[in-house]
Amino acid sequence: MVAATPQNDRWMALPRLIADRSCRAVVGLFFAVGAAMPAVSFAQTPQPGGTLTAIIQPEPVILTAAINTAAPTGTVSGNIFDGLVDYDASLNPQPALAESWETAADGLSLTLRLRKGVLWHDGKPFTSADVKWTLENVWKTIHPRNQATFAKVKQVDTPDDNTVVLRLSEPSPAILSSLNSNGAQVLPKHLYDGTDILNNPNNNKPVGTGPFVFKEWKRGEYIVLERNPNYWAKGKPYLDKVIYKVVPDAAARSAGFEKGEIQYGSLSPVPLKDAERLGKLPGLKIETSGYEWLSPFLFLDFNVERGPLKDARVRHALARATDRKAISNVVWYGFAKPATSPVPSTLAAFHDASADKDAFDVKSADALLDEAGFKRNADGTRFSLFIDYIPYGDDFKRTAEYIKQALKRVGVDVTIRTQDTAAFTKRVYGDRDFDLSIAWFAAFSDPQIGVTRAYWSASVGKNIPWTNGSGYKNAEVDDIISKVQGEASAEKRIALFKDFQKIVLTDLPTLPLVELKFFTVQAANLKTSAIRGDQVYGSFRDFWFDVPKQN
């Protein structure tokens, strides 16, 4: 998640900075020449060497994504660990630690053939035993997402060192969409077996198989990774070193990019209003691909157990009073796309664009509220509500402010409440003491992994963050959710998800607001052959500097 400590909320507009002169003149000349030459000749000749300085914010808690799925951990960890597969821009699996894979015709087993000759950073060989051990002891027991994803795995066979066979109780196609280094990170069995996994010291000084080796973590300052000389992809990685710096202040991050001290930052590292300006500087560019695997969407939960919100007509009225285009263009500076369904349009196969029933229409909103029996008082208001928002930065707060304004037009008086993350998740997912709540989820590449959790009735009020916040309970929806998990046929799953979207957009416990477009700020001379669909948690394996930066 894009967690942000509240001090990031308070960020200030930097005055328009003049690109500095003197020593930068040479660099400017270089860019001018670079732009004039055919881009291909530059982009396709990787240059070895150089140190990449990137932003990591907030500072990770631990560096092992198998144990903590937080965004900063995933960002760093993706360089140290390989995935079994990578995902390309269309979210198709590509060989990584697994060279090939096949699902049995009956869908009840998945065979992975592992790459030979891969070594852990401590020199021990990587084998099928590592995969089996991690699946049984980490993914199925403590991993917050994978307990559900791998729930149908009843047995893991390892006929030889390079073959893993997952035996399934029911077909489980979602597994193949969650096998990268973030979705299913393989840990070295020889360092973890028999230890207290959550407290294993290697969580903080990880030993992986990835393109970069963990070197040093100075808390509050930086994390240093060095090139893995024994990496299985010969000649890669190109970079000698990757340094992640912890820079807690947003304005300081902008200044760091501007000055060239920092060459890479993912997950929208600077405020939206700064992104456009930085993107226009010759030495920087803004990239919005690389987040397809996350497919983040922002939504508004209605507490369906409270007051006027119990009435679906009221929920539809509030939806129609909300202009999702304005949220995209004004509140999110265009770094968003209006959402019409809880299944984001990036998951093209599953997405149903026609299920939305609530186009922006203030008149119809007013009429619906009248019909539901909530007439305006003498002062023009019908009722009042509280709105709480996920405290991950200014953009979420502005969304709450926009909704306050929008609902005022239809006579609903909204009060914004602010709190920190712990208080917010307890209020919404534990105490259920809220009316409206704004949060974002990652949908991931299969809606079973990231979307259905918002509608599954069993998690209501259990104080489990990022589950069903609205309190929605519908047996039919629960039934669809359990059916898609064990359905092998892609067509049937798609049909089930289309039904799902129709029902939840009719009952509307949750209003999808916008699909978020996270962005990366990077140096213009930092190149890569292809940005992966899961680049956000991927590695710098394929990145190089056009002209290696001198150390």
Binding site: M1, A3, T5, Q7, M12, L17, I18, D20, S22, C23, V61, T69, A70, A71, T141, I142, H143, P144, R145, Q147, A148, L198, N199, N203, N204, K218, R219, G220, E221, Y222, V224, K241, I243, K245, V246, V247, P248, D249, A251, A252, A255, G256, E258, K259, E261, Q419, T421, A422, A423, F424, T425, K426, G430, F441, A442, G450, I464, P465, W466, N551
Partner: protein, 326 residues
Amino acid sequence: MIPVSVRFFGRRALQLVIVVLGIAITNFFLLRLAPGDAAQVLAGEAGSATPEYLAALRKQFGLDQPLPVQFALYLRNLLSLNLGFSFRQGLPVLELIAQRLPATLLLMGTSITFALLVGSAMGVAAARRAGRATDTVISSIALLFYATPVFWTGIMLIVVFSVWLDWLPVGGMTSIERGYTGLAYLKDVAAHLVIPATTLGLFFLAVYTRLMRAAMIDVQQQDFVRTAVAKGLRPGRIAYRHVVRNALLPVLTMLGVQVGAVLGGAVLVETVFSWPGLGRLAFEALFQRDLNLLLGILLCSSVVVVLANAAIDFLYTVLDPRIELS
């Protein structure tokens, strides 16, 4: 008969134990009033969670124990001088504090020294020309720095000196990518220190200037100064020998307060400049409900406050022989 100084330090030591223990116990229960716990924060950051994951985290953090048991464990640790373990960070609290201590002491030490010296000098200058143009200018400057939010001063200094002029680095404490060692490393840290220490120093400076100025003006009107003037002493000698020394007491009190707060660091400045100090560590620990770490930092801070106060009381007797240790 026990000497006065031994009795003084003995009593202060006892006081230290009682105060620190009281603070520790109060903090333990006070911090638990915050909604949510560390497991929930961690699960929140993870972006997804299950009841099993939360239960595993609570067990790991010891949060599955009843409160009295947690308290007993905490007391036992405390009495054996063990600050406990930060499960979130996976490191002992003492080690985490020790990692941040050098950066904190460097930043706070430099800025307080800068503020004390420059601020007092400005105060003396203002007092000697009280009511005249110099005084007005100095007082206005001091007030301006005091009234400007530190993060704004910090960002403006970054914009001017780092981005425009490119004289100094934007933030952090070292240029890790350069791999400096020895003298070059020290020069590098010094370059990183300039802007944050100045930012914080300018904020502190105003307090010393105003205190020094007020105290000087007060002392200047006292009889012994009139006597010195009547004796025909040069004004400079009167000012430095008689007035400044007597005017130092309130400045010293202020210094005690600031030195006491040194472990608290300076959250805003540390944040703006990515300075790896204790203030940020404590601030983040609060939001992360990392209570062991927060309790550890607060405990160390309270020890420093009590020690700084004792030291200042002792220094009073050195500066002003009329004050006795009691």
